[in-house]
Amino acid sequence: MSEPTDEVPAPEADDFDPTAPMPPLKTWSHLAKQRRRPSEYEVVSTNLLWSTDGDMPWALNPEIPLNKWYLKYRNGSPLRHDDWDGFRDPDQLVYRTYNILQDGQETYVDGLLDEFSEKQHDKGLDEAWIAALARLYTPARYLIHSVQMASAYLVQIVPASTIENCAMLQSADQMRWVSRIAYRTKELSYSWPDARFVAGERAAWEQERAWLGFRELMEKVLCAYDWGEHFVALQLVAKPAIDEAFLRQLGIAAQRNGDTLLGLLLAAQMADSDRSRRWTRALVDYAAQTDGNRALMAEWIAKWEPLGDQAIEAYCAELPDNPEAAREARRAAGEFRASCGFDA
């Protein structure tokens, strides 16, 4: 047996023997040109989509709706790069490391819930804050679920598996918090049966002034079907707005109202958002290798930012004991975009 090689030799035309054994490889042929040992992440995450190989996404008639959809919203997106498959997640998470990471995080959250329940934390909160939670916290499962859905749209429409995986884990992270918010909704209802926990969230999400901005933003983001625009609207506008208004500023209000548990839960959720921001920034940088992409993304930001700011304003205006909330949240969301190279 010959030594493994990095080369991918093309067969000679004249003496082509289709069954002549070819030398074994050190890694997948498509990674061999790197000339270094690939990581587990690279081995299991790179170049996994077949629908980006040719001109037609799916091996069926070009006129079927799903071919037209992918041709228009993915292949036809003005956000272009010659090699989307070259993108790498800065965290290099794979499925198995994601579970290790999040199992640990969930153990931490279980510990928090257990500890605060033992201390009868909920009974000690005051009534005005409980009313605020019913209006401003527990309805958020609708908001976070909309991000779960929007992230799942990215999963099916992005042009590379390495981007798809980031979006997939982000979608799963949202389900994590939908679950935890549902958990807290039920738990709060036991201590405060008259506060309309469980029964009131949908109406709050659909009608409360605080949520109108976020609902408008997310309904419109969900319908932004061009993959590039969806990425910008979700990752650079909507998620930062949610992170800064809901996670950060609600967390500050919670601390001021003696709700240590909520402050810690929102901080734990922020750790997931920080990871999301790392790959978002990396993808912006990667896309910006192609001329024109940064300007295009800036245009999309300019289009979506007013909706993001409006959502922040509407939500933060209702937060008790946090008069600086809106200004701070807008500043921090802008700061994140600035860290991605987009100045306000």
């Binding site: 035309a13 082509f16 023997d17 289709p18 299991v44 995450s45 799916w58 198995r96 329940s117 799963a172």
Partner: protein
Amino acid sequence: MALLDRSEWYDIARETNWTPSFVAESELFPDEMSDPYDVPVEAWETFDEPYKISYRQYVNIQREKDAAAYSVKAALSRQRFYESADVGYLNLIKMHYAAIALSEYAACHSDARMTRFGRAPGMRNMATFGMLDEMRHGQIQLWFPHELVGNDRQFDWAHEAHHSKNWAILAARHSLDDVMMSRDANTTAMMLNFAFEVGLTNIQMIGLANDAANMGDYTFQNLITSIQSDEARHAQIGVPVIEIMIENGKKAEAQYAVDVAFWRIWRIFAIAVGVPMDYYIPLEKRERSFKEYMHEFVITQYERQLRDVGLDRPWYWDLFLDDIENHHHCQQGGIWSWRETVWWHPVGAVSPPEREWLEEKYPGWNETYGYYWDVIIDQLVKDREEMTHQNCMPICCNVCQFPISNRPGPVWKARVHQTDHEGRRYNFCTPVCKWVFESDVERYAGNETIVDRMYNGTIQPQTLDAVLKYMGIGVISEGGRDGHDYRWADPYRPVADAAE
């Protein structure tokens, strides 16, 4: 512990539908991505997944599963095993990884479609787990064969196959694109989660795990069993969808989706599972024939599952039963005869004791399929190996893409079924593939099989070498040769000598 039980909060986490007011419902859930059946959203909201799990439980259970599967000890034992494994079994592994790794990953798209466009919140959450499961199955089934590319370049197909234009992959991709990649969320759930996963995959896993255990490949057995435990969970998405469809007067539509998908996946499944089971697994290790296995694990169970969910047997049931007796035997003959076109080393596996077994399991095999092999054996014993290769192109079906074939010998049952559409003639292997085509002509028309590409000039020059390279042979890895160097034909030599 003062933690709440999952059942206390679970329903709240799946009450996440709202009425949009800033965009139209039809814009948020376009028919082509979501629900073309006009089932009211209130009906979808009754979706109740039979298997419930929380995110917290999921990451914990899956972490533990992976800890076992990825252990260093298991990796070492796999390596040792593959270095001494029979080539027939290695064929099974090579076919499996190439066919499955990227297909499983592709199913992340299908689940993502349900997570985004499903109208039932419970479905959206289940499909989120489904996405993660498929990511796992893609990644773990890339990691394992990657360990083997240093032993054998044909394992590179685990990653490259679906990027290639190999005839077997063109067939697989056409089916997978049809069934799981290019449909709305609800049709995808019926086709992928029910017909494909409940109908065939779950059971395929049981068969594969059995084969692996019989061969002593315990780490592969554990891997497959572990994957199967995920499939069993997310496959459940299809059942409530079909029930809701039927309750809302859409039984015919559900029946159609399930019947198309079951047939399409069956045509691949028979090759990926049937050929290894009846030919590649060494005779002494075979537990049951593919046919027995189909009857025991698929037919009885699938019939019951159809009944339970409120559907009927497919109209083509008798044709399906007949196909169980034929399709994989035909393809075994074809694959062996065109062995340089595949990325494994097909074994003939028709020595006298093997033929005896085949005749016992498939009465009449010797007079029909045996007739095909007799011609090949005759050439081999006359030392005319070169005459056992096919140099012409078969006619391929314009739906399943496989060479059109059927029972050979005196009965000669091979027929081409045809239809004309917009000035072009399309060929089909069976009335079922013809029905699939005619039921949605606009979807399938324009298809080009590998043979169409040869004749219409897509493949240039029009030589056998060019076709092989087009298919990735000699590019990704070498193509196949007889895996046992024709030793299976040795027992025929004295008999032939005596006859002369």
